[in-house]
């Protein structure tokens, strides 16, 4: 059942990619609106990760409509809200009724209500500790995401994460499958490359991804090579 949903979403996204202009993230936002019964969808992407990993530059906001854009901006301005909290907890924050959160987020809840937002669902875009952005959905009336829609949202958030990684490291491939499956070796390899290069986890992930692209092999395969110690990264960027 899970695979059917995934395959259906994949086909829909492929059609978007072929037909419409714009980035993969924009297409994912559009698909969220179409498939998840939400009013708007937006992503905030931390556009660049410096080699020391300390500087996150707030980057592009992709949004399906103006309210979504304002919602993304709002959270960065007031420094609170589901997206900010999703970053803190490392998991999604699902708010089916924003009106019930005035005590939790006084500034955000009232400003969002003025924008006509009644429910918010925030998904962090991250790979372990590597934080890359967030996907935020909103609806103009309250109510939860059904379990089936939540499943779709999580799958789309996985793909958005993969899309952000491609965007950040400047490579563009349609290989999004690796984010969807529990490939623990990718996470282990990221930790190993981090030590090999003396870089942050974010940078290690991008180097791994970059090598997979350059070598033309799936990132899962590169990860396996690293974990089995048949591939090492050395600090001048070139794996040996």
């Amino acid at each position: 059942m899970g695979n059917d949903r995934r395959n259906r979403l994949r086909a829909l996204l492929a059609r978007h990619d072929q037909e419409g202009p714009g980035s993969r993230l924009r297409h994912i936002c559009a698909l969220c609106v179409k498939e998840l019964e939400v009013t708007g969808a937006g992503t905030t992407v931390l556009s660049r990760v410096d080699d020391d990993g300390t500087q996150h530059h707030r980057g592009l906001v992709h949004a399906s409509n103006a309210v979504s854009t304002q919602l993304e901006d709002l959270q960065l301005v007031v420094g609170e809200g589901p997206c900010v909290q999703a970053f803190a907890t490392g998991g999604p924050i699902l708010v089916p009724d924003l009106a019930a959160t005035y005590l939790r987020w006084p500034a955000f809840a009232s400003a969002a209500a003025e924008l006509g937002v009644a429910a918010v669902f925030s998904f962090p875009l991250q790979v372990g500790v590597a934080r890359l952005g967030s996907l935020d959905l909103y609806r103009d009336r309250p109510g939860p995401l059904t379990p089936a829609r939540l499943a779709d949202a999580l799958i789309l958030a996985d793909w958005a994460t993969a899309a952000v990684i491609e965007q950040v490291d400047g490579h563009n491939t349609s290989d999004i499958s690796w984010m969807a499956d529990p490939h623990v070796e990718i996470h282990q390899a990221v930790g190993m490359v981090k030590i090999q290069l003396g870089v942050t986890t974010e940078v290690a992930l991008l180097r791994l991804r970059g090598h997979a692209f350059t070598a033309g092999v799936p990132i899962t395969q590169v990860a396996k090579q690293v974990v089995t110690r048949t591939l090492r990264f050395v600090p001048d960027n070139e794996p040996t």
């Binding site: 899970g2 995934r6 996985d158 490359v193």
Partner: protein
């Protein structure tokens, strides 16, 4: 069951209940649960899988992180007593995986289990109201028929896991369960990253790296996930846990 065993079991329930404190860590808890399951249920290995909420199941904790066992727990998320258990919400047992019946019942799982040295398997559900959120799997090297008493204890341990999973938040909204399940998935990814850091730094196998991480967290009385996060975020240097070896 002797009085000593009863006492030990009682102590385990108290220990598990005692971990339900403010800085409670789900993966810590599940890890402890699998270790204690091995002890009390007289099985050779135990593991917990959780719903990934995308239609699949993922390993969350196991009594050891030996690579062959990790691989087996990955297979059983697709097929075997564990996936049957989460599909039906009822316990599933197999006393001998090497019989033709069981080999045809689980053509992927049974051979994989036998290859890893396990002849018997059982699974009990982690249930919350009408939902099954995961399963506790038990594996034995020898053909073993688990008796009703053992299954009752296994289910009690699984129930404790479910309570533990949600205890630190008032479970008044379904959203909290969904948030917690996904957060646990992310924490598991962070633990894998931390294992990679330690494995590379100390030239350790992944299961040794995990054992070091777990032992360090316990010695420091700190949540496993928090220590893993600090390693992966350069707040804690790996030299605190493992000696540098190349």
């Amino acid at each position: 069951m002797s009085i000593t065993q009863d006492q030990r079991l009682a102590r385990t329930f108290v220990t598990l209940a005692d971990t339900l404190v403010a800085d409670f860590d789900v993966l810590d808890f599940l890890c402890l649960l699998t270790e204690r399951s091995v002890e009390h249920l007289a099985v050779d290995a135990a593991g917990v899988i959780l719903s990934d909420q995308r239609g699949g199941w993922r390993p969350a904790a196991s009594s050891t992180e030996r690579p062959d066992l990790v691989a087996l727990f990955a297979v059983q998320a697709e097929q075997g007593p564990c996936s049957e258990c989460v599909a039906t919400g009822a316990p599933v047992t197999s006393a001998d995986l090497s019989t033709p019946h069981e080999l045809s019942r689980w053509p992927l799982f049974a051979p994989a289990a036998l290859d890893a040295g396990f002849r018997a398997a059982a699974a009990v559900p982690l249930r919350l109201r009408e939902q099954t959120i995961g399963a506790l799997t038990l594996l034995n090297h020898e053909p073993t028929e688990l008796d009703a008493g053992t299954l009752t204890i296994a289910q009690a341990l699984a129930d404790i896991a479910t309570i533990g999973f949600l205890h630190h938040r008032a479970v008044t909204r379904d959203e909290l369960l969904h948030e917690q399940l996904e957060t646990t998935m992310q924490q598991r990814a962070i633990i894998e990253q931390a294992k990679g850091v330690l494995a590379e730094y100390g030239n350790l196998d992944m299961d040794r790296a995990f054992a070091r991480l777990r032992d360090y967290a316990r010695a420091q009385r700190r949540p496993l996930s928090a220590v893993a996060r600090e390693l992966a975020e350069d707040i804690l240097h790996p030299s605190a846990i493992a000696a540098r070896k190349t």
